[in-house]
Symmetry: C3
Subunit: 325 residues, 3 copies
Amino acid sequence: MEQPSPTLWTKKDLIGIRELNRSEIECILDTAPQFLAVSQRASGIKKVPLLQGRLVVNWFHEPSTRTRTSFELAAKRLSADTLSMTASSSSHVKGETLHDTLANIEAMRSDIIVLRHSCAGAPHMLAADHSSHIINAGDGRHEHPTQALLDAFTMREARRKISGNPVATLDGAKVALIGDVEHSRVARSNIFALTRLGAHVTVCGPVALLPSQVEKLGVHSTTRLEEALSDADFIYALRIQKERQGSGLFPSIREYVKLFRIDRDSLRFAPDHALVLHPGPINRDLELSTEVADGSRSLVLRQVTNGVAIRMAVMHLLANSRTRQ
Amino acid sequence: MEQPSPTLWTKKDLIGIRELNRSEIECILDTAPQFLAVSQRASGIKKVPLLQGRLVVNWFHEPSTRTRTSFELAAKRLSADTLSMTASSSSHVKGETLHDTLANIEAMRSDIIVLRHSCAGAPHMLAADHSSHIINAGDGRHEHPTQALLDAFTMREARRKISGNPVATLDGAKVALIGDVEHSRVARSNIFALTRLGAHVTVCGPVALLPSQVEKLGVHSTTRLEEALSDADFIYALRIQKERQGSGLFPSIREYVKLFRIDRDSLRFAPDHALVLHPGPINRDLELSTEVADGSRSLVLRQVTNGVAIRMAVMHLLANSRTRQ
Amino acid sequence: MEQPSPTLWTKKDLIGIRELNRSEIECILDTAPQFLAVSQRASGIKKVPLLQGRLVVNWFHEPSTRTRTSFELAAKRLSADTLSMTASSSSHVKGETLHDTLANIEAMRSDIIVLRHSCAGAPHMLAADHSSHIINAGDGRHEHPTQALLDAFTMREARRKISGNPVATLDGAKVALIGDVEHSRVARSNIFALTRLGAHVTVCGPVALLPSQVEKLGVHSTTRLEEALSDADFIYALRIQKERQGSGLFPSIREYVKLFRIDRDSLRFAPDHALVLHPGPINRDLELSTEVADGSRSLVLRQVTNGVAIRMAVMHLLANSRTRQ
């Protein structure tokens, strides 16, 4: 494989999409296809030696299977060594701070730290004080940048395939984000990514779950699913956070399903070509019907496939950036 | 190492011994010795690159050290990348189904899935709907095929060594399976494997723990240990499932030990050449005395050694079968 | 990299410093620098193939992040395959003994076992009966030999750097060990290592936390911090074991901090060139002030860096010793 040239990339870390401009986002998206090809090699040898002998540490303070697995696999397919630290196995039981733990990991010559934390801002705080490359794998309600990148990549890939234009962009694409936008880091990161890539975003959900001034982010807002879907090219169903039930903000599941579920009935509001995404794991038949999730209009599994490639691209770009402090 | 030619193998998965004919079982047994040699290399480099760049996922829904470790090591000695998922770390806490989790893992381009599950039939159900190679590492009371394969391999190896005949088979070998046959997936898989390889199997245990129509599987059944051992070439002590105590089916431990424990006293019923096996981990001095387990007639540790080689053989055969859907 | 010649090393295991003579300790220290260089390679490829295809098993019966991580990383940088077993994931839930578990791991052809256990003597007991190379990663209050080796290495390295003499030793170096010496395996191993390397050791702490006959180990003992620090080249702050609070032996935290904390005030008792070490993780502002821990006189993170190199050296020496049984 020809080594991708990370000429456009100069940032040490990936903390949020908000900090990226359009050319930086496109740099990542444009680096991913060659890594997608690695995972699909007919020979079965799904690896490249680009990060051989480097150390990637997965440091997850919230439970996660798919995101952690995706990052771990991305690191292994770049031939990096990997270490996993979970909050329970870490020195937190002994009262060590995040800074101390990271300083220790760095003293062992780590290269990339993948951090998931329930506190918004934790990755940013650590990135400012440490020389490791930090990748935010989700921080509180703040951002989940690799999710938004793989979502944007998947929409762009579908658009290119459908249009037959191999350099088609998301300019003018219409995306409906459905659900609990207020509490979703996935929604926030997607709004930043999609608007910067030229897409038109409409957010839709119960009024209490739409951010009060979401229009300031350059998106349209509605509580009517029919309106949101009417001209959508892509429909993105957010995951219901069941633990918010009973908080007074969230409607009953029954009411949510009736008004906002993406299923065969509600898809009638949308154009025939509209495709469906979801960040996973799906609450089947709550925010998304099984029929649609597993149907021909679903990009859900393609998102998962693309996620590994996007994370390989991000790791490769960070590790080879010129700006490591 | 010369690459073994998996010409005889055409199945995508290894779900149970019941589905295998004699030549398929022998294909696996005959593939194992070269992998046994890999683990015993004087150079210390106990690896071959046969699965380099492939992904083996260990997906265990029941606790296990030795089986999980054996599979993980087998994968590493084939140079595969490995991922571990346990039930607690997986998305089950978020209510994801087995199908969804597997579909996601497959979307990341996994090759082999090693599944242990408390529900009989789970591996079969997944294998039918997914293109990954599924290896059943134990499902409920149904089957534990790699255990039976390593057991048969170990008996055949001992027979070849003792007879001096390097192509000796298990035809006519007499095997006594002692203990809770009714609830044991190990016993079931062994009965299928041994009878197909031409051995004569006698099952022996408390009457409530012997399947009611076990003779239909081609085995002899008795509740008298003396009878079961009288002409045994191999004595296989099953593990007592202590958790079944008090269910009304199981006798007291004290009574079981008195009537069915394999120890110096009960071995007097058996021929002098009879050898002893156990699937591990041993409840020492319950189903098997320490003296016998650690003595010269025990094949227990040889089973463990052979287990890695058998699992390497199975992974190699599956990954190179021509029938991947 | 030139392969280090382990000519001086003949032991199968590393159980404690007590069993090592000066030339054996120096053999390990002298083997470490080339591995330190591996971890710091500008190319980023921080690996050597010295243990390729060997199996290192991390077997931890007490929680640990940094020690376990350091060993795992050391094994990976030697290109070994690694397996992790924790007490909870192991067969202990099924009542298996240490001996049985190790016999099973060995039957799978393991090479090096890294063992942490709360019982003093557990590694010794296993090493006597098994052919694997056993490395004690901390056993009860007994020893933590790799910690003492990395500490001695770090002090010797600092002495060489400061003196400009690249072969300077610890002969005549003055080391103050501060804290709960009585219950500390780190203190015990350090006392053995440092005295054998020619250093003068003073232990200092509350009288109830100093071993009653510690002078027999060749060290000076005092309860006055001012006296202990007065001529120290190196000040080693031990970790407060908070769980000992309320045992009647340990003073209040407040009193301990007042009398024994290493901070800007207490450092006034010490020579200006004195440097500070700590085994980590630090109870910040209890036994060691944040200001000193993060200041220019602290060797704390250098200890962590050196720990990986020392553990690589130990694994390399053991695996290539001539005396494997």
